[in-house]
């Protein structure tokens, strides 16, 4: 069997970050990607948080093909025919070191793949890995991962980094993790719609080069767990809807989930934003939302799991993260493998430093802090009741009727008593303390 030092399954951000680091350390690394090119099949909403990863590979971020630095955050709660938006702008969001950038994966991942190739990594597109090869397993133990089978060939490696993304089919088949459950998964639909830069800046009230991130919750998912999003790129916008799979399965009527995105685009507050644009890309993708409770063991004899394949993502309603975790886990995977190779020990013991490094980094720390979130957001009142109630209350405050108006305080009090002063709300508030 032909051999390399390290095989990386999947040319997404986790796999490419690992390959870049390994090649820089002088290891022979081969990335196998089933898409036409790295990034071809990869979907994200939109935005990469930089502060967590800035110090990892600092030389890369200077020249990375980011879209826009996000200067303004908005979240809209959508009720029946009324909605309320909270908008937050800060000089620090898009300052000298912007905290987040919008990205388009087709461009970003290809650039990252080129960078890894420049360091000496071998990037092989159009190559789907069919199986992780193992030796000495049985009795429910996976054994040692010794390489992969792809396109009829078997290639061996000291370490295989499995960065195959959210479905984790190879890892599940090899017994390295459980299959994802509906309860821990969401489904995202997204379109990239092209608009001239000037139009984007006018419609979103942006300075040149700056961007906006806008999330929507409530009727956009018909009250199901999830929400809508709009991110502005350089000359396009990313518009999408995410909806929890379990919530969808619980509906009495089957939900044609892809229609949610069309409905979203047709809403009176979204339609003028997308008007005149050309759809350049359509995609659908699963998202892991199980949090730390669903993160499998991250290493074993001859293998590591990284990125979405390891369940490293976090949907905290107002922030959605996965790409920073993917890059950081790839970075730490590369360091762990390089060190293990030097020490001549790529067994369980030699690779354990990977999980230790992730525990000491923001990756597992942030996921641990957010342990309760996946169960909190299962509460349908968050997506059904509150967006409606907030919008109704706000609407009443801004309404002047034909009859003499009551005092403002009275209007507010009436609305609050109706929708917020209940045992259920108290319980919800109590649960939110763990967010």
């Amino acid at each position: 069997m032909e051999r390399v030092d390290c095989i990386v399954v999947g040319g997404g951000l986790a796999g490419l970050a690992a390959a870049y680091g390994l090649a820089a350390e002088g290891l022979e690394v081969m990335v196998l990607e089933r898409g036409n090119y790295a990034g071809a099949k990869n979907v994200t909403g939109g935005r990469l948080y930089m502060d967590p990863i800035r110090a990892l590979y600092p030389e890369l971020w200077e020249e990375a093909p980011f879209e826009r630095a996000v200067a303004r955050e908005s979240i809209t709660m959508m009720g029946d025919g009324a909605h309320t938006t909270v908008e937050v702008a800060s000089d620090r969001f898009a300052g000298a070191q912007p905290q987040s950038y919008t990205v388009l994966r087709a461009r970003f991942d290809q650039w990252f793949a080129d960078k890894a190739a420049e360091k000496g990594a071998m990037i092989v597109p159009n190559m789907k890995v069919d199986e992780l090869l193992r030796e000495g397993g049985g009795d429910g133990r996976p054994g040692r991962v010794i390489g992969i089978r792809a396109g009829g060939d078997e290639i061996g490696a000291d370490v295989t980094i499995v960065a195959e993304g959210v479905l984790g089919m190879l890892a599940s088949a090899a017994g390295l993790r459980a299959e994802p459950a509906a309860r821990d998964s969401a489904l995202g639909f997204k379109e990239v719609i092209e608009l001239p830069a000037g139009v984007i800046e006018d419609r979103w009230r942006l300075n040149e080069g700056e961007g906006a991130a806008h999330l929507f919750m409530g009727t956009v998912t018909r009250g199901m767990l999830g929400g809508g999003f709009v991110y502005t790129n350089k000359e396009s916008i990313s518009v999408g809807v995410v909806v929890g799979m379990a919530a969808m399965l619980q509906q009495a009527e089957p939900v044609e989930s892809y229609k949610l995105l069309d409905e979203f685009k047709e809403l009176p507050q979204i339609a003028p934003l997308v008007k005149g644009g050309t759809v350049a890309e359509y995609s659908a993708h699963a998202i892991a939302e199980g949090g730390i409770a669903r993160v499998p063991k991250l290493f074993g004899d001859g293998y590591l799991l990284a990125g979405d394949a390891a369940g490293l993502s976090l949907n905290a309603l107002v922030t959605v993260r996965g790409m920073d975790f993917a890059i950081a886990s790839g970075y730490h995977a590369a360091r762990a493998v390089a060190t293990a190779k030097k020490a001549g020990d790529t067994s369980v013991a030699g690779l354990a430093r990977y999980e230790r490094a992730l525990r000491e980094s923001f990756v597992l720390k942030d996921l641990e802090t957010s342990r309760a979130i996946p169960r909190i957001v299962e509460n349908p009142r968050l997506f059904m009741h509150y967006p409606r109630a907030v919008s109704k209350l706000a609407e009443s405050v801004f309404t002047i009727g034909a009859q003499p108006s009551p005092r403002l305080a009275k209007t507010v009090w009436k609305g609050a008593r109706r929708d917020f002063l209940s045992l259920a709300t108290l319980k919800d508030l109590w649960s939110l303390r763990k967010m």
Binding site: E2, N36, Y37, A106, D114, A117, M122, G151, G152, E194
Partner: protein, 260 residues
């Protein structure tokens, strides 16, 4: 017998991935790959070499800049070429077919070991179909255009070409330059093992100066590059899943996309 072959390989933007916007092709972020007809030429080289029982196959390419050429040319090595020779020089920017042919001919002369020089009949992007003939002329070699069958015979080469109503069989001594059409063969798929091996095969890089050339003459300027814009049909099929599938298949047949 040992047969040394040079295959001229042009790398093109991946045509399947190019979108048309405002009647112009969007080339940004489109990866380059070895052209399809060049793959036919490579396959022909591999078959000729096997028939001869030995020899070296070199993939030769000429580019203006780096354009990730070292990565792209690996496809030719993974298909089976033994070595790659890259002529890269900024002075080649805008060179026309005569200029490219001058560089290729000089490179073939410098390589020296070449019994058969193979080309695709044209390139996937510009398709001028001139380069093979020009190189043969510069080298003073016999040339056969549009071969659809190739075999070794009598110490030289025998080729078939399709004329309108007949098939012409030509024989030529070595060294010879041949351009091939896509019917000639089915290029072999590239295996992972061969991709791995390709990374270890020798790659030589030359500039024009290495070939004793300083410029390659005529410059070409693209005045416009317009493409036909196709509107999507936007047909929606409703009804039960089975009905939708039937209607969809019928529509594809009607459009002539399948079932011809």
């Amino acid at each position: 017998m040992s047969l040394d072959i040079v295959v001229c390989v042009k790398t093109n933007p991946d045509a399947q991935m190019i979108r048309i916007k405002n009647r112009e092709p969007v080339l940004e972020a489109i990866p380059y790959k070895v052209g399809d007809l060049e793959k036919n030429a490579l396959e022909a080289a591999l078959q000729l070499r096997d028939a001869a029982g030995g020899g070296t196959i070199r993939a030769l390419t000429v580019v203006e800049g780096d354009r990730k050429i070292r990565e792209t040319i690996k496809e030719a090595l993974a298909m089976g070429a033994d070595e790659a020779v890259i002529v890269a020089d900024p002075a080649l920017a805008g060179a026309d077919q005569a200029g490219i042919a001058a560089a290729l001919a000089a490179a073939v002369a410098k390589i020296g070991a070449c019994d058969v020089l193979l080309f695709g009949e044209g390139s996937t992007d510009n398709y001028s179909g001139q380069v093979g003939a020009r190189v043969a002329e510069l080298l003073g070699w016999p040339q056969i255009g549009y071969a659809k069958k190739l075999a070794l015979a009598g110490g030289g080469i025998e080729a078939e070409r399709s004329m309108d109503e007949m098939i012409e069989t030509l024989a030529a001594p070595l060294p010879v330059a041949v351009t091939v059409v896509s019917e000639i063969n089915e290029p072999r798929p590239i295996s992972l093992m061969n991709i791995l091996k390709a990374g270890k095969k020798p790659v030589t890089e030359w500039t024009l100066a290495d070939l004793g050339l300083d410029a390659v003459g005529a410059q070409k300027r693209i005045v416009s590059n317009l493409a036909e814009e196709q509107d999507r049909k936007h047909v929606l099929f409703a009804g039960a899943v089975d009905e939708q599938v039937d209607a969809f298949v019928n529509a594809l047949v009607k459009e002539g996309v399948v079932g011809r």
